[in-house]
């Protein structure tokens, strides 16, 4: 009994259901309510914000040139000069972590943008038109899902070279299919709505309908999924770097810092492995917490799907 009551209580939303996020009138109020109701989510949001800010101002908060090799300061520990110590080439770990924030942000933004754009487009078109279009597109999505992401990543890196940009594109291409699936569902039900029928009968063209009527209604889902994806993108990039497929050495990404040969020096130089790993974990945690809370608040019906 208690379980059901608690479940019912959770249903109280910050926003009314089915209201597109774009129609909220008072953002500061909404944010305050959000923080009060979902403290973990707010915490996640705060971390995310810190990352974004850190990434943007990275040239100013770094203490050293992240690529400056310095043989006199190899593997120094934490100090006033080197907040996070130095690595086996004498580079300042703190500065590299800070620059890495920017690289991670770049990777997540580009890959999520690509994945979202393609995924939404396919999902909406597929769901809206139905029939043959839907079938063909879904087969393509199936093929994309069945295609091992690793091969695509290696092939892309082989074709155009490893770089932050190319890695992001690869990640985006690997992640778009599932978003299109997620998006397609709601589109299928939305398109049956009577007012859309009316719009169609008055001769409004499909593109207009898709953009003006369907898209706003799936924005909530997209926001939720996308927020979680940022974290995934960072994780995937770090895995690719570990396998040697990531952005090349001058670029300091957290993943490539963890894949350096020296990270197993745990006893004496623990800071080499700790800070980049902690950074990744913290940031992904932040995105996930924030994304979770956002989802609870925007549409708890998505709990099973996003």
């Amino acid at each position: 009994m208690a379980t059901a009551e608690r479940a019912a209580r959770d249903d109280r939303l910050v926003f009314a259901p089915d209201t597109p996020a774009t129609s909220i009138v008072s953002w500061p109020l909404a944010v305050a309510r959000f923080c009060r109701r979902k403290p973990l989510g707010a915490f996640g949001g705060a971390i995310t914000l810190v990352l974004i800010v850190m990434a943007i101002v990275h040239p100013w908060i770094a203490t050293h040139d992240p690529n400056a090799l310095n043989p006199n300061e190899v593997l120094h520990g934490i100090s006033g000069r080197h907040y996070f110590g130095t690595d086996n080439y004498g580079r300042d770990v703190y500065s590299r972590v800070v620059y890495g924030a920017w690289a991670s942000l770049e990777v997540s933004i580009i890959s999520v943008a690509i994945g979202t754009a393609i995924g939404t487009a396919i999902g909406v078109v597929s769901g809206y038109f139905g029939g043959a279009v839907d079938m063909v597109l879904q087969r393509v999505v199936d093929a994309a899902l069945a295609f091992p992401g690793l091969i695509l990543a290696i092939a892309l890196v082989g074709l155009v070279g490893p770089s932050v940009k190319n890695v992001s594109i690869a990640i985006g291409l690997v992640t778009f299919p599932s978003l299109s699936r997620i998006v397609r569902g709601p589109v299928l039900s939305i398109k049956e709505q009577p007012y859309l029928e009316a719009a169609r009968s008055t001769g409004a063209n499909s593109l207009r309908i898709m953009v003006r009527h369907i898209l706003p209604n799936i924005t909530a889902i997209i926001i939720v999924v996308v927020t979680a994806r940022f974290g995934t993108a960072i994780l995937v990039e770090s895995s690719l770097s570990f396998l040697g497929l990531g952005p090349p050495p001058p670029t300091a990404t957290w993943g490539s810092m963890l894949s350096g040969d020296a990270i197993y020096i745990m006893q004496t130089a623990w800071w080499l492995a700790f800070f980049p790993g902690a950074a990744i974990t913290l940031v992904v945690l932040g995105f996930n917490l924030f994304g979770d809370a956002l989802r609870d608040v925007l549409d708890p019906r998505l709990r099973g799907r996003a």
Binding site: R6, L40, R139, A143, F147, P148, A155, F242, L285, P300
Partner: protein, 315 residues
Amino acid sequence: MSTYILRRLLASIPVLVLVTFGAFALIRVIPGDLAALKLGNDATPQEIHDYRVKLGLTDPLPVQYIKWIGHALTGDFGQSQWEYRPVANVVRDKFPVTLELALLAVVISTVFAIPLGILSAVRQDSLLDQSLRFTAILFLAIPSFWLAILLITLPQIWFGWKPPLTGYATPWHDPGMNFRRMIWPALVLGVGSAAFVLRLMRSSLLEILRQDFIRTAWSKGLRERTVVLRHGVKVGLIPIVTVLGLQFSVLLGGAVIAEQVFALPGMGRSLLGAVSRRDYPLVQAYVLIFSLVYLLMNLLVDLLYGYLDPRITYS
């Protein structure tokens, strides 16, 4: 039911063709001439060209593809260019390793995540629930290779123990050794998956418990356990089953990291090397396997769906 299966299988064929042809073309497009790589500096351009002819690389792409399909249908997948033995033998050695790894990871994931997820849902907002949720979300954020490296390094420093990192035996040849080798990488892989499934189980069950048919069960005066387990979980498992199916494919692909760090002779590691060295026949066979597994998994999952949710029927 059987027509449904047949239809699904038929629908898979165009997907298979799309994927395998895609990989076929992609790997030939990236720069790096297999023939020149194999022959070395002393070879003359004529010899390199002749070698390419011998490997069938001078035919137009669709022709090469058709030939490959033709051979594949008779079970001939060609020779691995860098292992100097039939592709089928290479796959026979490596695929079971990754398969076992992924299966173990899924089992670990299920064994931990489902009961804990149910517990978490039933004791919603309790301390147990909060800590489980936080732990889950934490493990989702940890990069798996980092976890793997921590596992092989820290315990050795702290108490002189490390997981075994060499040697391999199949489960029927030496089950003890096999288990000792596979359990640690499976744990590393399974932990991330477990976190995901736990959260899903929790939210799925919570959702179910709100529904009318549960209210009916309460009002009948049934015990909590009966309600939750018999009625709630069975339906709540539906999204889990879907996810596990997808997870399996994901794990199959993600196993490469565990294979690298733990030195397992699996498909992931082999695929990485094969693409890097342009071992076309081997890559094609692996891509075929990946997609077959994925499609079969999907089918299996949908069939399981039908069993779990009485409202769903297949015609």
